[in-house]
Amino acid sequence: MPYAGGYPRHMSDEIRMLPRAYHEAVEHWQRHNFPEYPELSKRWQQYFPKDQEFCLCARIEKGMPTEIQVGDHVGQPKAIAPKELDKEAAEQLLAIIRAQASTEFGSIQQHHGTFDRANDPQDQTWVLRVMAEELRHGYQMIHLLTSADWSSVTDTKPQDMVEEILSMKTGSHVLAAFNLEYDSFGDSIVFAAFIDRVGKYQLTMQKVNAYAPMAASMPPMLREEAFHLAAGVIPMRRWMEAAARDRNATLDVPTIQKMVNKWFCRGLEMFGDERGGQTNVKLGLKDMPNKEAQDKYIAECEKMLDDINIRYVRAKLAHRSRDEADAAFERIRKGDTVDGIRKDDLLRLPDRRFFRRRGEPAFQMVGVNGEQFTDVEEYIAHCLAHLPEAYHASIDTKHWIEMQRKVAKGEIELKAAINSMPRLARVGGACPCSKSVRWVMDVPGGATGGGENLNP
């Protein structure tokens, strides 16, 4: 890394490259799934002047704790090879790494779908950087899979694990949030604000991981993730300011609210079932159970929307002083109408049980404001009214409606409905150019998805 002329300095990172075959496989994947990537280096100096150039590599943090920090083995040395972990911990860790890798590559495929539809070059370039850094995070996970011997917990060879990950498409990824296609470029932004924020929590929780290479992979990823969150929040603030100033703004508050409703509930499910997560803590893999992490996430999302809403109120009440605007915001939030601004004009989180398909409140028919529905058709109509119109036509929505009806009528067991995923895309088939990576063979229907269950 050149260290000159104002570049920031990260002394704590050690750079590692994948063996050539895996490195080329990732680059090959990039050419098919992330063709925008070469544009990043062309735009770098305009949008990120003097930032350290992007590097497709694994980064390992130096100076991390060497003793286990949580769980049953606190104080014992951290594992530096999978076989040093308890079998259960190694199995669970392998599942976490595969799921994490799936999310990294999956998000690029989602962003790619609407990348060219961005209406702001800065927003687009920020997303481009986010995509490149997600590629690096996927590379990091492949490094974890291929730089160690996992034969104590799996018969799958490293090259087959990598091929399985690279073969996934939108619809066949491990977590539901990465199987939803974007309706517009706006989803790229709201996704960054809500779903990348879950990523931040997962990475933060895994900083204590009992497997030292996993723990040491987290800080460099977290530093990049910090920008990803900003790539969501800053444009959302701008949208709300524009909505306050211009009644014909391209995105009005109800439209943004529907995008929030779409992604927030999927984000909550990424933490795993609210009743679980203690096993990962016990095994020393994470430092919080699912519900505790989810509660903190919700509080942070509320803070995020407060900040965005304050911008909206300030833009609407530009003639008022800071203290007057703050006081007005507090009154509006409590339900008063101030200068024509009502509570319903601001963004808000839906109830944590709204539109849920995984976890404790799955298919419980709870509305955006926490109201309980008893009639399934009324509930479906309620949800559709609070979700983006373009999303109504998706296979994901269609599948949810079918499951919601079946659960309400007792035609399917709740557990089966929770594990069911729309089969948007099939895993398998040949690489489009048939030159390099082989894609893995097809899997039985319904065998993908539902990975939220891997946080026991």
Binding site: A4, R9, D51, R129
Partner: protein
Amino acid sequence: MADLRIRSVTELDIEAICKIDERITGKYRPEVWDDRVIYYIRRDPDSSQVAEVGGKVVGFMLGEVRGGEFGLEEPTGWVEFFGVDPQAREKGVGRSLIEALFTGFKARGAHVARTMVAKTDTDIDAFIRAMGFAPAAVTAFEKRL
């Protein structure tokens, strides 16, 4: 201050930083602070810090380690923007912030911290000197264009 907490800056601190700036300068400049804070977040989010009291941000300090500027080849911890809510001053907030930055600078290999202060900013000058800074052997030049 009993419940003072120093932590790394995040994208959710920008509005609070705007507010502190507004209390100090009388100007509401969200776009300015969006750009400034994002600059630090995308380069090294752990380097810049905010101070919280009771969960409320009352101060911020933005800076990072760079090298090779102005012929100063050694890694330098640059202290570039900071502010403390007027209501939270004289309570050690600024000192806690700058000490947190120094710790981060040292961890990133810097053995010197540098900053620049306008001659008219006498309060900032006094604070910086109280934090152990001394005039450097460099001269700031400018030319109006």
